[in-house]
């Protein structure tokens, strides 16, 4: 899902950077103002988790590969704005140091993988969890579905960005200038592997990691008026 440079026209990539700069500014402000000092290590560990889980490539039959992201886990723990910031940091390091995802494409990649996934996954999770405990059966089902839905909507917005290039940017002779397949092909290919393989893996990863956090630090998952909840305004419990 990390779009490399060259697959998006500058007319797409540059406006996406222009969109993501203020979004990340808001996210940084939310983290600075709404998170307590002792929550920052959780953000660091969550962003690090996202970084390393993206390295676990899953083989897709037919010769492709896909991976989980871990954004929804972070959104469940600290809220979608913190997740957006943490995953964006991971994506920026991946692009600059490891050549995974383009630099011109960073705005698009942060939009899809950090922003869209964190927010969509988080609200899908909230909707399904309702008032149930985070570690209850319903809470865990909500985490699975949140991860599944978040990753798939991110794959969808990525596919739409890809496919739009084919329809909008062609050379005079009709050959595509950037991404080379139609929206239909892009959406079909991206969604098949994410709906069937990467999505369920994302759901499982979210549930297992959440369970791991709950086993070791139950206070981080409590719904009661604990330190994390009392400090949750705007970042965690509501927007």
């Amino acid at each position: 899902m990390h779009i490399p440079d060259g697959y998006l026209s500058p007319q797409t990539a540059i406006p996406m950077i222009a969109v993501m700069v203020p979004v990340l500014g808001v996210a940084a402000n939310k983290v600075k103002n709404d998170l307590k000092k002792k929550q920052i290590p959780i953000l660091a560990a969550g962003a690090a988790f996202s970084f390393v889980i993206m390295m676990f490539n899953l083989p897709v039959p037919g010769g492709s590969s896909a991976h989980a992201v871990g954004a929804v886990l972070l959104a469940i723990l600290l809220g979608p704005w913190a997740a957006c910031l943490g995953v964006s940091v991971a994506l920026i390091i991946q692009a600059l140091v490891f050549g995974d995802g383009g630099i011109l494409a960073l705005g698009a990649n942060c939009f899809n993988i950090a922003f869209v996934m964190s927010f969509v996954g988080y609200y899908a999770y909230k909707l399904i969890k309702g008032a149930a405990d985070k570690l209850s059966g319903r809470g865990m089902a909500a985490a699975f579905i949140g991860g599944y839905v978040g990753l798939n909507i991110a794959a969808l917005t990525t596919a739409l960005m890809f496919g739009a290039q084919y329809h909008l940017f062609q050379a005079a002779d009709g050959t595509p200038l950037y991404f080379m397949y139609s929206i239909k092909v892009a959406v079909t290919a991206m969604m098949t592997e994410h709906l069937i393989l990467a999505g369920p893996v994302e759901g499982l990863v979210t549930v297992i990691a959440l369970w791991f956090v709950g086993q070791n630090y139950p206070a981080l998952l409590s719904n009661g008026p604990k330190w994390i909840a009392s400090n949750d305004k705007g970042v965690g419990s509501h927007v």
Binding site: I3, P4, D5, G6, Y7, S9, P10, K32, N33, L35, K36, K37, I40, P41, L43, A44, A45, A48, F49, F51, V52, I53, M55, F56, N57, P59, V60, G62, G63, S64, S65, A66, H67, V89, A90, I93, Q94, A95, L96, V97, F98, G99, D100, G102, T158, F162, F169, T175, P176, L177, Y178, F179, M180, A186, A189, M190, E193, V213, N216, Y217
Partner: protein, 104 residues
């Protein structure tokens, strides 16, 4: 930074150690083909794509590898683990900026 939630970091260390499992999937993700793969995968290299594909040639550890550590799965796995360590240290370094800014 690492003292409060020790077990989270131990968990991350475990993931780092098994990260070379990610090397077993050798296929390139849809829409992430390199210039060297495009002819095989797609049949041609679009003109605009060719122009911007190498916009950033400064990746020090391309594809999570350490230059020189290639040729065998063992070397590539070691390079992958080193990449995971370096990447996580950088991520933690950036996020730790917020540690100083956040309230107690």
């Amino acid at each position: 930074m690492f003292k409060t939630y020790k077990n989270l970091w131990w968990g991350l260390l475990a993931l780092i150690i098994i990260s070379p499992l990610g090397l077993l999937a050798t296929g390139t993700a849809f829409g992430e083909w390199g210039l060297d793969e495009l002819v095989d995968e797609v049949g041609f290299i679009p003109a605009g794509l060719a122009k911007f594909a190498d916009f950033w040639p400064h990746s020090l550890m391309p594809d999570y590898s350490v230059p020189g550590m290639e040729g065998s799965f063992g070397l590539e796995a070691a390079g992958y683990i080193i990449s995971a360590v370096v990447g996580i240290l950088l991520v933690v370094l950036v996020i730790s900026i917020f540690y100083r800014m956040a309230r107690d």
